[in-house]
Point group: C2
Chain length 264, copies 2
């Protein structure tokens, strides 16, 4: 059975190059977005004399308020985004009212390594990138906002929500802005493996003896936590330390797997 996937249209079709692969599965798109510590949210310029798309760095996570137990790998999801919402995006999202929302494009890219080849043209990166196209609206329902806040918090570190002072009070809820993106289309692009080479260069033994080729794997490393001056808790708690150990291990293992994959 085929995996549940986004429709492929001219807007989200991935152009493949070398060892890059396009992918439209919920599983890939959602997991790349949810693994990215930050996403870039682009929207169209508002002012008539402003030619440039606006871009904001924000936190993003997929979820479904109406099917909260659904697995993001196999089910339809919305994208909840949180962060400083520029007054311009805010105006668009509020103004949309009963409308379908503000068109946004959300991009997330995870680097898995540098790929060094015999020639500059064949240098590349191993990476996983997702682009999501959809319509953003302000979340106004109190229960949905709470759901999204908990989702975003626990996507930073599992169980972080339950280990803070919760629930947020009325003032905190009012001052928090969450946008829900109804996803129209999405795609992922993944590059893995060692370098590709020009056929002529690949046969050149003298060149292969002179220029080292291979992959330098990379991942996000989480260092020893630094307590705030004000904290009265003496030890870094278990939910932080166990997450950190796992994230560092998964990051490292994933980068090495991406480097060797399909090298024969």
């Amino acid at each position: 059975m085929a995996s549940p996937a986004y429709e492929k249209t001219p807007v989200n079709t991935v152009k493949r190059l070398g060892k890059e692969r396009g992918n439209y599965d919920y599983k890939n798109v959602h997991s790349i977005v949810n693994s990215s510590p930050v996403v870039h949210v682009s929207f169209n310029p508002i002012a008539a004399d402003d030619p440039f798309p606006a871009v904001l760095p924000m936190l993003g996570v997929t979820g479904s308020f109406t099917s909260q137990d659904a697995d993001p790998a196999t089910s339809e999801q919305d994208l909840y985004i949180h962060g400083y919402v520029g007054s311009r995006l805010m105006k668009q999202s509020s103004a949309s009212g009963d409308d379908q929302g503000t068109p946004v494009t959300v991009a997330a890219t995870l680097m898995d390594g540098l790929v060094l080849a015999l020639t500059p043209n064949h240098h590349s990166c191993n990476y996983r990138s997702a682009v999501v196209f959809g319509y953003a609206s302000l979340v106004t329902d109190e229960a949905e906002k709470l759901y999204a806040l908990e989702l975003i918090t626990n996507n930073m570190i599992p169980n972080l929500w339950a280990n803070c002072r919760v629930p947020p009070n009325k003032t905190e809820m009012t001052s928090t802005t969450i946008l829900r993106v109804k996803i129209s289309l999405a795609s992922a692009k993944i590059r893995s493996g060692g370098p590709s080479e020009d056929r002529h260069d690949a046969k050149d033994e003298a060149l292969r003896k002179r220029v080292w080729t291979g992959v330098v794997p990379s991942w996000t490393q989480w260092g020893e936590p630094i307590p705030a001056k004000a904290t009265l808790v003496e030890e870094v708690p278990e939910h932080v330390e166990s997450w950190r150990a796992l994230a560092n291990r998964d990051g490292r293992v994933g980068a090495y797997e991406a480097a060797v994959e399909k090298e024969k």
Copy 2:
């Protein structure tokens, strides 16, 4: 004397929140872009029925073909971008001809850590983010293309260019696409330090004994290189290993400095 900086207009003005700081200096904007392994390039939709901005992950580096020795920290720069240029962006850039080019917004964000507070609303990230607004054109001049390719290659790893088979041959030059972005406006946004707290929570000793607060620093870690099956060079070369050691050290030191900065 004030540092050379981009003009501040409604398009690029940074809204500040908590410990975030806006910055328009060449030094900050250029160094964030040049330190990012990948940038996201957004441009306006072309098709009349496509409401979504397009976004492509690409490699980017600042430079000046006409003042090649100029210091990016203090001088005007162009932004050279390289990667798979979608047919849509390509059409826009080629079509622009003598025109000023295709409006693009280029975003780069570097994560320096997670900031854990007493409440979900005060959780934050330490990060450095740059957004560059400008006009992109295809580089057609052979000498400028070569200059940009070398710049992009050496921005991955210093001296990488001289340690490959160079210069690229005619076919390679023809198949390579480089865009030059004439920068109109730009800004950087930087968050550092420990958590901010609600004044009421900060006085709550029981809460401060229950909820750990502080920063988990993060950086890009470069792992032990994996040689390609085809390489005949036995040791990972010095330009790769010395860069890797320095990048890992700078990443770690930078993340810890960002975590403690301004905590008193």
